[in-house]
Subunit: 447 residues, 2 copies
Amino acid sequence: MPLETLASVVGASHIITDPDVLAGRSVDHTGRYRGRASALVRPGDAEQVAQVLRICRDARLNVTVQGGRTSLVAGTVPEHDDVLLSTERLNTIGDVDSVERRVEAGAGATLAAVQHAASSAGLVFGVDLAARDTATVGGMASTNAGGLRTVRYGNMGEQVIGLQVALPDGTLMRRHSLVRSDNTGYDLPALFVGAEGTLGVITALDLRLHPSPSHRVTAVCGFADLEALIEAGRTFRDVDGIAALELIDGRAAALTGEHLGVGAPVEGDWLLLIELAADHDQTERLADLLDGARLCGEPAVGVDTAAQQRLWRVRESLAEVLGVYGPPLKFDVSLPLSAIAGFVRDAVALIGDQVDDALPLLFGHIGEGNLHLNVLRVPLDREKALYGPMMDLIARCGGNVSSEHGVGTRKRPYLEMSRETGDIAAMRAVKAALDPTGYLNAAVLFD
Amino acid sequence: MPLETLASVVGASHIITDPDVLAGRSVDHTGRYRGRASALVRPGDAEQVAQVLRICRDARLNVTVQGGRTSLVAGTVPEHDDVLLSTERLNTIGDVDSVERRVEAGAGATLAAVQHAASSAGLVFGVDLAARDTATVGGMASTNAGGLRTVRYGNMGEQVIGLQVALPDGTLMRRHSLVRSDNTGYDLPALFVGAEGTLGVITALDLRLHPSPSHRVTAVCGFADLEALIEAGRTFRDVDGIAALELIDGRAAALTGEHLGVGAPVEGDWLLLIELAADHDQTERLADLLDGARLCGEPAVGVDTAAQQRLWRVRESLAEVLGVYGPPLKFDVSLPLSAIAGFVRDAVALIGDQVDDALPLLFGHIGEGNLHLNVLRVPLDREKALYGPMMDLIARCGGNVSSEHGVGTRKRPYLEMSRETGDIAAMRAVKAALDPTGYLNAAVLFD
């Protein structure tokens, strides 16, 4: 281990070899995926990141990059005594350019910090998700994170207009566009976005910001069956001003309501949270839209911020509440809308066949056909029996095995289910071009 | 020349060696860029494209790909006795999936044909530009074309959700997503989009479609100075329902109006075409918005289709009318909004210094800070004296040397002005990984 060389670059206090720290850093959030790391290195700027990479490459050490470590597919678990490279010190956020609506952020800045910078300038950042206080924008770009606002603003990739990247050969590259409209050469930012750290370490980002809508209205509506909800989702995702469109399993909402001591916001086996936001009042339009849908019972509508926050709490607390049952087995999948009801029926049957007593609960971003299927009470030794067949089912339904969480270590064996041979070969060629020895984030994406 | 081998793949009638045809195919639309081709090959399907590539690579022949040949940066001019590979026969358009709002199109399908397929299904394709009857969706994806609707729907890249590509090694890859939400591996479509055919030949595309707005209103407004127009553009680009935001030089509008025999639609040194489109009436909102802008005189408003078409004609006929003066020298540039007025002032001064009698005329997509500066009456022997200094000026103003036309052959020497060394090195590494001998579209992008 070239610890001294690394220490001369980042400072001795930023090389950590304490076994407890390393063990805590070598496991995913479920505690199910465990690896082993030889050191944690915390570079203080992009040049240091590049130097750390060069030193590790030359010493034939694998490097695993860590941001907020909120990956849901074990994307930051080191497999082979890796050096852990943390972006946590790269957390500077520049001044917001409110005319061009952009801000430069270090990869280690949290989503919440970027959101705060944007809102302080009267603007809004286009991505929001539950792990906002921990997830870093570098990690979110590396995984092309989606979330609660995708139906309006797109995924993380659609917010990235420039990048600084430390490449596997230890050089730095900067794609710095002051303006978004730019057709000068390959769209390298789009290549690094979603590459899960396998092609380089994102050290800084130019992020697009959006005007903040002055009017907002939120509703939670109940549906007697999933088909009726999907039909409503199909209509609502197209309306002007759509700002959120979240499917919530009625049973999950009931559990959450119980946990929060507030009860479910509305009746219904399936709930839909819909939000409109625009520069003029949307209350009447929302009422008109809901009039046309096959709801069961009256929707709960929030016209002021406090009421809206109450409605959102049911959705936002889902992950936490489900976690009370132990880490759920998570499937993040996107499907054609027309295939969703059939998939859910078959998936529930599959789960029942494989694991007695398992409890499948769904939520997701119905505008994108993106479902989060969480299966509670799956013993560790039954996971494998469920995982492969579920991936098969997703592929058979015309879906993608990863919608917004990425491939990570978890779904590595299933890449071929969504990607054909020529595609994977092209991906591998790009990987080999930038990282010929394959030392960077070696555990993710490719088998 | 392995003409017989090529003929055995595509059929003898699809190998053309007639010198007149080849000469016509080896020149850009201005007649200023001229190259030389040894044959024109017209494969009939993706497999044939792949085979043609393999044969040419093995025979050490350069290949230049041609779609509609509407490149404004000499992007399809062969430099070295190339084989011209035309995508014109790959023009099938599949059935529109109106639930998932997507359609599969062959690379050689024209934009107009895709637009027609979309509108027949009650949907709209997100990109529109003047060359719609000629430009092919394959070429438009290869150059990440923008156009008249970018302010609403983004560029071509934002419409592409899947691709089939014949790679330089003669293999085919297919990224086929039935749903847009997809984080399964590298975003290869985003890499091929905008690569100007240097990484492979796009043979088919899965294109995203959008709901068709039921209400539309259009206005052309006059401004006494450019600053006032930019200020209005800054406000309007953020409003909900914005569907177009086009800057038109008052002198250019006057020339066009004269040419069309209709006169300029409104008074003003600078004109702005603004369009709102949504699922509810926008007429009042537009009136409110225009009330708040510093217009000179009354705007011309079009509430019905016929009136809207009349307003659009001034914008749509610009290129044709300017062409009457001979091919203009074109600069396609994007700039921060705050830099535009200064850039225009300096650019006009630069043109005056370098070329007596030259007439600079501007139009562009002000929402993206994208200007098309057309300089009329520039003698061929003065072009060079103007081009480099203009690229310098763009870079000094914080702009991009290509906003939506690409780099092509024309701007190849200026790539370093918008891209730093590490960035170009990374681009070259990707190119070398996929096309190690550099035979595909060798004339474009890299110097």
